[in-house]
Subunit: 349 residues, 2 copies
């Protein structure tokens, strides 16, 4: 195996002290990058996902063009429901659409726990090819959606501000909801283990809709499944859990044994650190809309963010995915400000 | 003036001890009520808002049909941008649309700080008529949107999950943003004072989108204007501030002198109480989607919520507006469970 020349992210997630803070951006591959937009015109979303050469090319673009300290494989969280037997349409600028959502226990009959090599082998191939092309420049992050977030789409059938349909399903048919969540969890564990075999150095679990639940429901319908996934993975790979908006459960998320926890911009870094404890790395938490500010403002605000996180292991990132209309220079200014920053605090082991 | 026969809400907001917890529901007038849906078929949204007889009828429906302890005037937060000179379309099930949003400082020339009696007198008339028809049964709540939330619509031009356009406007043109926020604030203060003159017993300020901002931006673009509004009103009327999702600033919101603070279901009541201190009443925080659960589940969960708030002044409510598809019996179960609950804690002054 090629030795990594930049392992800042890995050392930070292990709680080791580093010469500077590593930086990457959620959704860094795609959307705002002109080279990606060109590919988008030629190939459909699933063509880009399922063609390892394209996925690898898109994955590496931000490493070469923006200078991030990690690559994250170009894919989508909805490949898992798709592999489980659901039809998933991803229409550009319209969001996901699942024409036959889950409504009752009977609908679970339509689902299977797939052979991941057979149904998701294209992701593993993309990881292998990316790893080869990266040639040790930076670590490669694999990912999956948290079971709760996948249930949201599988039941609601499309995006939503509040996912009331998914919630009503859980509140009125809790037994069926838990069966579905367990099926997703079992699939996800096999899928992520495949990603690790294919070369992923880090795994991130995205719970984009965890913050819609009360603390009790988050434990019941989300964290209890994330906990299983982290337990199955944490001894073989570095793991990051990002449950957007679920700040109330940072202590419980830290207790899963995850190496890193993502936070959004609506919580002060110092407050998050107090809740999460000293052991875990924190990742975040720049407001993605702030990348639309003038560059001098970006530099000032990124510096303030780094100050607020200093003293403990921190992975610089946005608090959510980068927006499609961010100018490339602004994304670069974000990354460069992190790279130029001099630590003011002392990193702890 | 007719003496109020049920002043539980007023006493709770004053921090006085009460024989039971008062209860009302955000968006209780409209949406899920069959009698409202009938009126919706006959009259457009603005006809319903601007015809005092209709607005009063809709306002009183939940008092008579659901048994809530307060009425809240049927209106919309967007009547304020409309009175300031913007075109506002409210299309049923599509949400608000403002065809000519604010983009630059020049666009502020199109706006005025209106004579509220002239432009919003129909709201005051509706309040007076409602007050008369209520005849002392329960208190009447008036309301307005927080300046930040109104700016969101005035700049974005429509609803959004993230209001990136509104945020980019604030981050790139902060001087213009603050001018606009001050114009909205001045209008809102005059508007709310008019509501008080027309008989509102309580005023609630809705900052539906406050939770999209970081703590620093919330202070800068939202709370600094809410503070002005509360300061202008708090000696003449009881005030409630509900900045959905802005849990991080509960201490700062309490310091405005507001009598009550709304919270959503994503924060534990005990944590909110710790942040907000002992002086202010807390309002909330039932997950609106939970009203889609079976009635026995609703009863159990409402009781758990009341337990969690007990010991300090609490106004039982949802953590956001009631959903359109909630069965009327479920809304009633919510209200009845609160009314039947026996306090386990001791209320403090």
């Amino acid at each position: 195996m090629t030795k990594l020349r930049n392992d800042l992210l890995l050392r930070t997630l292990r709680g080791e002290s580093t010469e500077r803070t590593p930086v990457w951006m959620m959704r860094q591959a795609g959307r705002y990058l002109p080279d990606y937009i060109k590919l988008r015109k030629q190939y459909s979303f699933f063509e880009r996902c399922q063609t390892p050469e394209l996925a690898a090319e898109i994955t590496i673009q931000p490493v070469e063009q923006i200078g991030v300290d990690a690559a994250i494989i170009f894919s989508d969280i909805l490949v898992v429901p798709q592999a489980m037997g659901m039809e998933v349409q991803l229409i550009e600028s319209k969001g996901p659409f699942l024409p036959e959502p889950i409504k009752t226990a009977n609908d679970l009959e339509r689902l299977l726990i797939p052979d991941v090599e057979e149904r998701l082998g294209y992701v593993f191939q993309a990881l292998r090819l990316t790893k080869k092309h990266l040639d040790g420049r930076v670590p490669l992050i694999g990912f999956a959606g948290a079971p709760w977030t996948l249930l949201c789409y599988m039941v609601q059938g499309q995006g939503s501000k509040t996912f009331d349909g998914a919630k009503a399903f859980c509140y009125t048919q809790p037994h069926t909801a838990h069966r579905l969540l367990q099926m997703i969890t079992d699939t996800t564990i096999a899928y992520l283990k495949g990603q690790v075999r294919a070369g992923a150095d880090v795994i991130q679990i995205f719970d984009s809709w965890g913050g819609l639940l009360s603390p009790e429901d988050f434990e019941n319908f989300s964290l209890s499944y994330i906990r299983q996934i982290v337990a199955a993975l944490k001894d073989e790979v570095l793991t990051i859990v990002f449950a957007k908006g679920a700040w109330h459960s940072l202590a419980e998320m830290a207790a899963t044994g995850a190496h890193g926890l993502g936070i959004d911009w609506c919580i002060r870094p110092q407050v998050a650190r107090q809740m999460a404890g000293d052991k875990v790395a924190l990742q975040g938490n720049f407001d993605p809309a702030k990348l639309l500010s003038p560059i001098p403002v970006i530099k000032k605000e990124v510096t303030a963010m780094l100050d607020a996180f200093s003293g403990y292991p921190h992975v610089a990132n946005l608090g959510h995915g980068i927006l499609p209309d961010v100018p490339v220079d602004h994304a670069k200014a974000f990354v460069e400000t992190v790279k130029e920053y001099k630590h003011k605090g002392v990193l702890i082991k």
